[in-house]
């Protein structure tokens, strides 16, 4: 299941929704991406813009692709948009499987694909103004290694 939302998410609640009452899940991987300080420049906030409609379609496609590649019993993707501050959560990926390898790999695949396919754009707000975040070649390389 996927969600694109401005609101924060609650990891323990999402986990409970996926796993409560189930005894077939042997491995759960959760990944949370957060806004962090930049180091070189003081980051006041980051605003995520997205393409409503296409974002949901892309996330559903990415999740379906993970479901066909790995034996997942459940998965969850939440991606936030809007203005976020350092320490705020941006993205949540949960993968559940019988064994750890599928859960680890599927979570990694989902994040690599999210980074390079999901139509979101980040603009960073620092003391010196606003800057659009540039895509990283290493993210493309990470997504490419999964093939298509």
């Amino acid at each position: 299941m996927i969600s694109v939302q401005a609101e924060p998410f609650d990891l323990s609640r999402e986990l409970a929704l996926l796993t409560d009452g189930r005894t077939d899940i042997g491995a759960i991987v959760t990944f949370t991406g957060r806004v962090r300080d930049l180091g070189e420049a003081f980051l006041k906030a980051m605003t995520l813009e997205h393409y409503p409609g296409m974002t949901e379609r892309q996330l559903e496609e990415i999740e379906n692709e993970a479901q066909t590649r790995w034996p997942l019993q459940a998965s969850r993707i939440i991606h936030r948009y809007g203005r976020l501050e350092p320490g705020d959560d941006i993205v949540l990926v949960i993968t559940c499987s019988a064994h750890r390898q599928a859960a680890f790999e599927a979570a990694s695949f989902l994040m690599d694909w999210l980074k390079t396919k999901a139509p979101f754009w980040k603009v960073e707000e620092t003391e010196t103004g606003e800057t659009w975040v540039e895509a990283k070649a290493e993210d493309d390389a990470a997504a490419d290694k999964w093939g298509k």
Binding site: G33, L48, E49, H50, Y51, G53, M54, R57, H79, I90, V91, M111, L114, K115, T116, K117, A118, P119, F120, W121, K122, V123, W132, V133, E134, A135, D139
Partner: protein
């Protein structure tokens, strides 16, 4: 056609959405880009380096050789930076 622009392309053009009646003879994304880039300095700045621009037709990734039709929703945007 419904045209959408995101991120710095939206800022340079000055709008995120507009409609355009497909001119006769225009058949591909590349021809649409050439048409848009000639519309003014904001458009020229947005499309100055087509190599970095991504395009989606009806919410699916497409490329510059993809055919376009009058009812299409066509979005232009820089490389994505989510996650």
């Amino acid at each position: 056609m419904k045209l959408l622009y995101f991120a710095w392309m939206r800022q340079r053009i000055g709008t995120g959405e507009e409609t355009l009646t497909k001119p006769d003879g225009m058949a591909t994304v590349a021809e649409l880009i050439a048409h848009l880039a000639a519309r003014g300095p904001g458009y020229a700045a947005a499309f100055e380096n087509p190599a970095v621009i991504k395009v989606a037709i009806n919410q699916d990734y497409a490329d510059f050789t993809s055919p376009i039709a009058d009812g299409d929703e066509i979005a232009f945007f820089p490389p994505v930076t989510g996650g």
